[in-house]
């Protein structure tokens, strides 16, 4: 296979490759879908907070749960997945290159994902699938909803195969060399995603599609939920790891520094691969059918996945401090001043990092076994993931957008867009502080998530929630302004910014950096350990669930207004 940009043996392997025009078109296609999704999903979010304020009713007979389904599916599944797959492709292209054949297969991935998205979206818009993005059985959506979702997942697998092939060919051409850090990270993320999405694919293909088509009379509800959450937790790490890629390997370059440690960055990604998957029970802690001892074992494994995040926190602060000291800023916190606060490529991800402090702390609380009963299905949880995915991850993605889009479209990030971006970041931070803060408090007071406006018969408790729902409406409205700004920025960077060359920032290692150990790329061992941990965490409880199954459930479509 003819590799574009053949790297000569004597060339520096760390040198970045150029992205040709045809590839840029592919990557931009992913970005178009992502930003269209951002706009639609954000609009749905605005409508939700307004309805929940109690002073607004949806027009044209649109249902609250219909827009909630759109919001969840299009932001949590479509926006994230398209942005991530597109961004990861650019990382691979920059570091290991892409062949013409790989590009063609990648287009196939794009179209499978896009057609799947359209099928699912139309089903939801017709009101045939108001089952929310978790589609818990025995609520039954129209079969097209599940078929569309299956297509999206199959499309991501095609992308994963391309990514693995890209690294494989590079390694063949560079015997004995360590793979580029970003290519290593992308590969880890796609291995994790592939292993995890097998679970939800099995649920959709084996359980939901035959059952919704009427070929199977009943469905095993707990099995479907367990398969879903086997996928559902790694899903959040699939969102987070691309943000970590930027934090580890891109932010240091933007602030004028070097990688803190190539080996530690890789080690943390390997740990994420190990511990992201065997932890799904921490989403099922208050369910009746799972043995509590196994719940606790998965809680312990969940706590293990916190460790690589602790390492990441240290590495980030250390990068900031080392870079600052090298620039001559002394004292205990003098290095803090050197950070490029006026550069949105840094500022947006930085605010994302800040949000991960309460986001991470909240996550530890959620996973704390019996303490989960305090917050489970309260709006605290909604507040939690609006900090993690909707602030930490999305602000980092926005931070990437500011340089990635002009890099792909051959334009420049101008001073005025940079300034607007800083403003956008502040708007986002303030809006989320108000909305997510109110959600956390209301959740501790018992307010439920995923609920349209209700006065709950006028109880004193429900009255006390009203003020927080009003605050959420204010925060949500501010956030919608942030979305409008971001969509404007995207359009500007895509079509109207001045032509030029925008840097694709990738940090380098220190000249005298300690070499990365060879065993770090023992892929077979990493995959074997991952599978062993999954088998350990799931085999016994899963067999137990199947052996002690109650009679299955028939489909219910009338509760979602679809009979």
């Amino acid at each position: 296979m003819a590799l574009r940009n053949v790297v000569l043996p004597n060339e520096d392997p760390r040198q970045l490759l150029a992205i040709p025009k045809q590839e840029a078109k592919l990557y931009m296609s992913f970005m178009y879908v992502a930003f269209i999704s951002l706009f639609i999903g954000g609009l749905m979010g605005l409508l939700q907070v307004l309805v929940r304020s109690g002073s607004f009713t949806l027009p044209f007979g649109i249902g609250y749960y219909q827009i909630l389904t759109v919001h969840g599916v299009i932001l949590a599944l479509v926006l994230t997945t398209f942005f991530i797959i597109g961004f990861q492709f650019t990382l691979m292209s920059k570091t290991v290159g892409m062949s013409v054949k790989q590009r063609k297969v990648s287009w196939l991935a794009f179209w499978i994902m896009t057609i799947g998205t359209l099928v699912t979206a139309v089903t939801i818009l017709l009101g045939k699938a108001s089952v929310l993005y978790t589609f818990y059985a025995p609520l039954k959506a129209h079969p097209a909803f599940y078929i569309g979702l299956a297509l999206v997942i199959v499309g991501t697998w095609v992308a994963a195969f391309v990514n693995w092939r890209q690294l494989y060919l590079w390694k063949k051409g560079h015997p004995g060399e360590k793979s580029p850090l970003l290519a290593f990270m992308v590969t880890i993320n796609m291995i994790m995603w592939f292993i995890a999405s097998l679970g939800v694919a099995a649920a959709v293909l084996v359980q939901f599609i035959p059952w919704s088509l009427g070929y199977a009379e009943t469905i095993n509800v707990l099995v479907s939920r367990t398969l879903f959450w086997y996928f559902g937790h790694p899903l959040v790490y699939f969102w987070l790891l691309p943000a970590y890629m930027a934090w580890y390997a891109i932010i240091p370059k933007i602030i004028g520094g070097k990688l803190f440690s190539d080996s530690l960055a890789r080690l943390s990604f390997v740990l994420f691969l190990f511990f992201s998957i065997p932890v799904g029970f921490h989403h099922q802690l208050t369910e009746p059918g799972i043995d509590p001892t196994w719940k606790f074992i998965q809680v312990v494994l969940t706590f293990m996945v916190i460790i690589p995040s602790l390492m990441t926190a240290f590495s980030l602060f250390a990068t900031f401090e080392i870079t600052g000291r090298r620039k001559g800023y002394g004292g205990l916190f003098g290095w803090f001043k050197h950070l490029p606060w006026k550069d949105v490529r840094f500022f947006a991800p930085f605010v994302g990092m800040l949000a991960f402090i309460p986001g991470g702390a909240g996550g530890i609380i959620n996973a704390s076994h019996q303490v989960n009963t305090l917050v489970h299905n309260t709006i605290w949880v909604t507040g939690h993931f609006h900090l993690t995915v909707a602030t930490t991850v999305i602000l980092t993605f926005f931070g990437i957008t500011y340089w990635l889009i002009p890099h792909l479209t051959g334009r420049k990030l101008t001073k005025s867009v940079n300034r607007l971006g800083i403003f956008q970041t502040i708007v986002w931070g303030v809006g989320m502080l108000i909305m997510s803060g109110a959600m956390h408090i209301q959740g501790l007071l018992g307010g439920p998530r995923r609920s349209a406006y209700s006065d709950y018969g006028g109880t004193e408790q429900a009255v006390s929630w009203g003020a927080y729902q009003m605050a959420q409406a204010i925060g949500g409205t501010i956030l919608f302004v942030g979305i409008i700004l971001m969509v404007y920025i995207f359009i500007k960077l895509t079509f109207f910014s001045p032509k030029g060359v925008e840097e694709f920032p990738v940090a380098e290692e220190e000249e005298n950096a300690e070499p990365t150990p060879k065993w770090m790329e023992n892929w077979k061992l990493w995959i074997a350990i991952t599978i062993a941990l999954i088998l350990f965490a799931y085999t016994i409880p899963f067999v137990d669930i199947i052996q002690n199954s109650p009679p299955g459930s028939v489909p219910f479509d009338w509760p979602i207004g679809n009979s």
Partner: protein, 167 residues
Amino acid sequence: MHFHKFEKIWLTFGIGALVLFLVILGYGAFYLGTHPQSHGVTIDPQNVEAHEAFKPENLGLTKVDEDRYIVNVVASAFHYDFGVDADGNAINHIEIPKGATVLFQVVTKDVIHGFNIAGTNVNMMVEPGYISSMEVEMNQAGEFTLLCNEYCGIGHHMMYTTVEVYQ
């Protein structure tokens, strides 16, 4: 692979805190029995009345002993069935004395529901085929909202009732 001395300190502290959390949680769960509900008792979701506890006459609040109560509930979209009162009207409010020990047993006839007495630790998923149950001591007085906190359809937010814990 080299760890900076301070990173070792940080990881020791961090992992130590995590271990401490787990020890506290594990002690509560395994020695004091504060596991989240997990009994794994099954029932036929299409015929919950076949079970003694969920026969229509056994629904709602029953006093079994001094300061000991059982509350049996059948959930369905979109309401909780607490049985009927002496006049044959559906019960939508229960009253429990403060300090009483109450065993909640809840099943669903259709889709998944939640069962949360807002502001208390009574918070269970109710799934077809399983009896959700939890024994708690009602230690706070006041009026509580009992609501469905797992999406169950278009009337999900209308699925609630009230629980009064009196002095």
